[in-house]
Structures are given as C-alpha cells and as structure tokens.
C-alpha cells in the first residue's frame, strides 16, 4: 500500500471543505459524531457549510489571534492507498503556505466555482503547481448543481483555462477537469446520473488510478548519506554502513558508484533494510548500503551511479525562490543553504527578476523579495552542492534558505 499526498488550497467558501468532508465521509475516514460536531460548530460560527478547518483546534486559536494560518494535515485511506491532504487556507500568507503544503504533493486539487468560473486564484494555483512540478493537477468544477449541470458551462471553464494551461504545464504533467457537486456528493466517489455527458472517472477514481512511483525510480540515482553506521561490536566489528533515504532512482547490489563531491569510486556490496538484505532499492527507501572497498565517506556525501555521467556539483547557479519570512530577502546577505541534509553558507548576489504568478509576468531590476513573493536569484555557495536542476529531477533540486541568526527557514529555492 502506498501513500499519495494531495495539496488543496483556497478560501473556505469555494466548497473545498465540503469536498474534503465528502472524501473523508465516503471513505469511512471520519466518524459521524465528528461530522456532527463540525456541523454544530460551523453553525455556531454562522456558516451554512461544513467548515472542515474546524477539525484542528490549533487553527481556530490561530485564527482568533490573527496569527499565521498555515498547513493542516488531513488523513483518509482506502484499502489500496493512504491519502494525506495538505490543506492550506487562502489568506494573507497564501503563497508561502501553498508552496509549503504542496512541496510534498503529487496531486494538486484546484476548485473552481461553476458559477464564477476561473478567478485569479485559479491561475495562481496552476502556476504554483507547475513551478513545483506536481505531476497531476485535477481541476474540480464544483457546484455544478447550481448551474443545472450544464455541459456548456463546464466546457466554457475548460476553454478559458486552455491558454494558461498550454503556457505553463510541463511535459508529463497530467491535467484533468472534473464536473462535481461536493454538496450532493456527485462525481466524488460516486458517479451521478445528473451529468451523463461526462464520461470521465470520479475524483476518487482518478486518485486511486494515478501512478507516479515509476517516474521517481527511473530518475537519476541519488543517495545522500545521512548517518554512518559503525557498530564496533564483536558481531559487527568491521561493519561500516551508509544509512540514508534514496532521493531518486534505483540502486542495485553490484552497481559501481561514485561519491560526491570527492569523486571516489566503489561497488555496492549490500543494500540492507534492518535484518533484510535487498537486491535493489528505489526512491523513497530508507536503507543502509555497504561497499566492497574502504572509502572515506561521511554524512553529507551523495552516492550516485558511476554509469550515469551526470553528477552535479553547483557553486555558482541561479534558482527560483519563494520567500517565506516577514523579513525580506536582501541581496549581499549570507544565508545558510540546506540542500536535502547538507548545509553550507550561501551568498545571494542579485535578484534577476520577480515573477507575478497569477499573470506570469516578470519584473526586472528589483532589489528585494518580500514574504510570499517569487523571483529568480543568482547565488554562490561556500561548498559545492550535489543538486540537480529542479525541472530535471525535483527530488534532488530543491533547497531551503535559513537565517543564520534567527535559525528560521526563510526561503525555498528551486535550482534552475
């Protein structure tokens, strides 16, 4: 059984909460007493819909105090898959939270109100999903019951997004459109007779059928060493294993490997998962790898396949960044750059442009990036990082920027 992470975003009145509530309810993932508690809590707040954000008390407290509203995690499962929804309410710190919530997602769910059609937020969602290289986007045209289930309304919305979609989507990204009514549970987990013209799958059907694991396993092989296991006990006197989680690709016993950044070479002797010895391991597996020869490897080194001649070593490069902190990015300042598990100092030499995600227009000659702003920067690191271009291998192409003094995570970057 695998896990599929989904990102949802948007304001509370676009039917998103009802949609998530539907998914939970129809997969038996929420007890009826919880739904009823939500209903009465929503009524007390004067809402005529189910405010699913009330599922988390923390969120209410934050809302009352008017402080950061961020990502809430919601869980549901079917016998074939466990689903984790990272839900980001659309308020002031919208972009920051959307990017944070979507960073692990393989599916982005975007809701469009059938009566209103495409709004600026729709474009923003789509752009961020493209920037993060989320492989699947499902655009749910909701509240179809309020437009008499008309196919023409659905098609008009599809058409109005066609230009933006062709402009920003990348090769391999799946974008689908679903006409739904979350209020009546139509096309969520059950097909409906109200829209016989729609031949596609239900929302849950699309989620259950979506496969992404193989693309990760076929990406360039990257294994960042997290921890060197040296038991030095009698039974394992000479054991020296490299523990880590494979970021991308596949490693097999007998593969020739190269160590980055040192360039040393060796061969994989064993791949171990606790007491089990494996023939191979793929992206996402936490394993311990032993080599046939003694090489000097420490935390932060990355193992790659010697046969794949694409080993990255970046020191001067450009990246797209999304700024996450109230204190704006200032060029010339030194930050800590964390790529995967590796941290090095980095200096941002300039901001080459700022991007308006909603309109896809960019502005040159900017000298700062504020909270929620997205831009392209040029930077230089103290030590080379073994990162790929984000577009080529998202699992090894992102980094975070940390303020040296506050220790806060202040930005996220995508190697260009």
């Amino acid at each position: 059984m695998d896990i599929l992470r989904i990102a949802t975003a948007g304001s509370v009145d676009d039917g998103k909460s009802t949609l998530i509530g539907r998914l939970l309810y129809e997969t038996n993932s929420i007890t009826k007493d919880k739904i009823e508690a939500l209903e009465s809590a929503s009524k007390r707040k004067g809402l005529d819909f189910l405010d699913l954000s009330l599922l988390t008390d923390g969120l209410i407290a934050e809302r009352e105090q008017g402080i950061t509203i961020d990502v809430a995690n919601i869980y549901f499962s079917t016998p074939t898959r466990k689903y984790i929804i990272a839900d980001t309410p659309g308020h002031v710190e919208y972009t920051r939270n959307m990017v944070t919530g979507a960073s692990n997602a393989k599916v982005s769910l975007i809701l469009v109100d059938a009566r209103q059609g495409v709004v600026e937020q729709t474009a923003r969602h789509l752009s961020i999903a493209a920037m993060l290289r989320i492989p699947k986007v499902i655009i749910c045209v909701n509240k179809m019951d309020l437009v008499q289930y008309q196919e023409s309304t659905f098609n008009a919305i599809k058409d109005s997004l066609a230009e933006l979609v062709s402009q920003i989507t990348f090769e391999g990204q799946e974008i689908s459109f679903l006409p739904i009514s979350s209020l009546y549970g139509q096309n969520i987990t059950q097909k409906t007779s109200e829209m016989p013209w729609f031949k596609g799958n239900t929302l849950l059907g699309e989620l259950e059928a979506f496969e992404y694991a193989s693309t990760l396993a076929h990406a360039p092989a990257r294994f960042p060493v997290q921890f060197v296991v040296r038991p030095m006990t009698e039974a394992y006197h000479d054991f020296r294993g490299y523990a880590g989680k494979i970021s991308s690709g596949t490693f097999k016993v007998g593969n020739a490997i190269r160590v980055l950044p040192t360039g040393q070479e060796s061969t994989i002797a064993t791949i171990e998962k606790f007491e089990t010895k494996l023939d191979q391991a793929i992206a996402g597996d936490s394993v311990t790898i032993t080599l046939t020869t003694d090489v000097d490897i420490s935390r932060g080194n990355t193992l790659v396949l010697a046969s794949e001649n694409n080993a990255p070593a970046l020191k001067d490069f450009s990246a797209q960044v999304c700024w996450l902190d109230h204190t704006a990015l200032s060029p010339g300042k030194t930050y800590l750059l964390q790529h995967g598990i590796n941290t090095t100092k980095a200096k941002i030499s300039q901001i080459t442009e700022r991007l308006d995600v909603a309109t896809q227009t960019s502005t040159q000659g900017v000298d700062t990036l504020k909270l929620n702003e997205i831009g392209t920067i040029a930077l230089r690191t103290a030590q080379p990082i073994s990162a790929d271009q984000y577009a080529a291998n998202p699992a090894n192409g992102a980094f975070i920027l940390i303020d040296e003094f506050s220790n806060s995570t202040v930005g996220v970057g995508f190697v260009k």
Binding site: N28, T31, T68, D70, P79, S103, K245, S286, N407
Partner: protein, 304 residues
C-alpha cells in the same frame, strides 16, 4: 470472510521509511537527543523504528521515562524488558522526587492525577542531561492540538511552543538549528494514524504491554467510563469497584486512562474494534452483534 488486510490494506511502508529518515536526522543533527518513552504503543513503535534506523548498531540515544509513580505495573515491567531486549540505555526520573523537592504539588479531588506534574520532572531531566532534542510519539490525527505540530518543533528553555516561531517544513528537509537553551521536540510518526500504528504492530509482530489486550480487572464507573481501581484513584463513597473484562486503547497513568469493555485477545480483534467503533457511528451500518464495540464507542465519546 474478509481479512483485516482486505479491509484496511497492508501497512504503508513509506511511513516507516520516512520515520527512519527523521530519526537518522535527529541522531546526526543533535548532540544529545533522547527518546521520551511512555510505555504506550506509540513510543514502543518509536523504539522499533530506532532499532531499524541504526541497525546493526545500537540505538544511539537513551530512552527516557518520566515515571509518575502511577503507571500500570505491566507498563513498567514491559519498559524494563524492552530496554534489555534492545540494549538501549534507559533513564528513569520520578515525579515523586519533584514533589519531594517542592517543585511540584500533588493535585487533590477525585480527578487528581500526575499528568500535569510530569512536565516539571521532564524539564528538569532535559536540563540535567542537556538534551537538545526529545523524540516523542505524538501523531497529528490523535489530538486536535497536535494536528498542526511540526516534525521538528522548536521549544524555548521553558519547553514552550510558540506558534509564531514554527518553521515551515518543505519537502523532507528538516531544519534543526537552535540557539543555546532551546531544544527541539521531534515527532517521527506525525503522519501515522491510530490504525497505521496497530497495522504496523501487527505486521511487525511486535510485543506490547498485556493491558492492551482483554483481561479481568477491578474497575469503577465514572462519567460513563470504566476506570481502573488502584490505590492512586481518589474514589467517592458510591464508586464501588467491580470486576469487568476490559482492555486499554491508550496507556497512560492509572488515574487518567479509561478502560473499554472488550473481549479482544489478539490484534486482529483490536483492529476490528477500532474499525467497528467508526462504522457503528455511520447509522445504517450498526452491527448489533458487536455490542462490545458499540460500548467502546460510547466510552470514546465520553473520553473525548
């Protein structure tokens, strides 16, 4: 007949991979980490994950138990067995000592427990050993207040959580940088649900304290729940202990953990009970034959 796996599927192994990754980051990023061990199923799961993360090496941090003195004897027995079995270092500190030192005051009344008091002992223990990271078994699905907790949660030197200072966590990158005096609470099984934990215990054939399974026990009824009778429970005159067939769904102190009436003697039945407890709530699917499960649900509602 449908098996448990037909109903809930196999344990999603990706969760284990992610938790092991987190534990390895803790060992690498911090100088003095510790695993807070309560004896409950979640912290037992953490110990199992830590065993796997560093195998064939030993768990590179101690298990720390804050003993309230009101624990179930079965939990203490299990704790000692597990430490021996895994070879992990065990550190125990006692709430009673904090009370004796005048740092904490025993609660009074019939709901008196040492649940709140253990924070005092915990903070003292963190200071005594200069722990910079404390690993805990909290899950986001378990308590509403925890739903938005980060995996690396930064605390000030009073152990306080400041929502405004929570760091965004992107991809799987964990930023454990802290100032002197601060420490980090780490929650490696944040994304597991109660069912995930039980499914893992089942697939891993893990040992758990016997009180999770059905047994005979002296209990009293209070607020529609069954409370284990013990010398620590402040009973009122009309609260007469009686024997019942029960088990515990969560394991904390004897004074603040309610039992559920249950005949579940193996893990499959426990999982069935949890599933039924939900399904019975769904109106149309009430299974009248499962009276014990329906009972459990009532306890639950009272409990929450």
């Amino acid at each position: 007949m449908q098996t448990i796996q037909d109903k809930i599927g196999h344990f999603p192994r990706q969760l284990e991979d992610e938790s092991i990754y987190i534990l390895r980051e803790v060992a690498a990023q911090f100088e003095r980490p510790a695993l807070l061990f309560s004896g409950g199923k979640d912290s037992i799961t953490l110990v199992r994950l830590a065993q796997k993360a560093f195998f064939p090496g030993k768990i590179p941090f101690p298990l720390v138990h804050i003993d309230t003195g009101h624990n179930f004897p079965e939990t203490i027995e299990f704790r000692d067995w597990l430490a021996k079995e895994t070879g992990a270092e065990l550190i125990v500190r006692y709430v009673q000592d904090s009370i004796n030192q005048g740092k904490a005051t025993e609660e009074s009344g019939k709901y008196a427990s040492r649940n709140v008091l253990q924070t005092v002992t915990l903070l003292d223990t963190i200071e005594e050993f200069k722990f910079d990271a404390c690993i805990g078994g909290a899950r986001r699905d378990e308590e509403k207040a925890r739903a938005k907790e980060r995996i690396f949660s930064v605390r000030d030197d009073f152990g306080q959580w400041d929502a405004k200072r929570q760091r965004p966590e992107l991809f799987d990158m964990l930023n454990g940088r802290i100032a002197v005096g601060e420490n980090v609470r780490v929650f490696p099984i944040s994304n597991w649900t109660e069912l995930d934990v039980w499914n893992y215990i089942k697939e891993e054939k893990m040992e758990i304290p016997s009180i999770y399974y059905s047994h005979q026990r002296q209990v009293i009824e209070r607020d529609g729940m069954l409370w284990a009778d013990s010398e620590y429970l402040n009973k009122e005159a009309d609260e007469i202990p009686f024997e019942a067939t029960v088990r515990f769904r969560t394991v904390g102190d004897m004074t603040c953990t309610a039992a559920v009436a249950s005949d579940a003697t193996d893990i499959d039945v426990i999982i069935e009970e949890i599933l039924s407890a939900e399904i019975s709530e769904r109106g149309a699917r009430i299974d009248d034959k499962r009276s014990e499960a329906a009972m459990e649900k009532r306890k639950q509602q009272g409990y929450f």
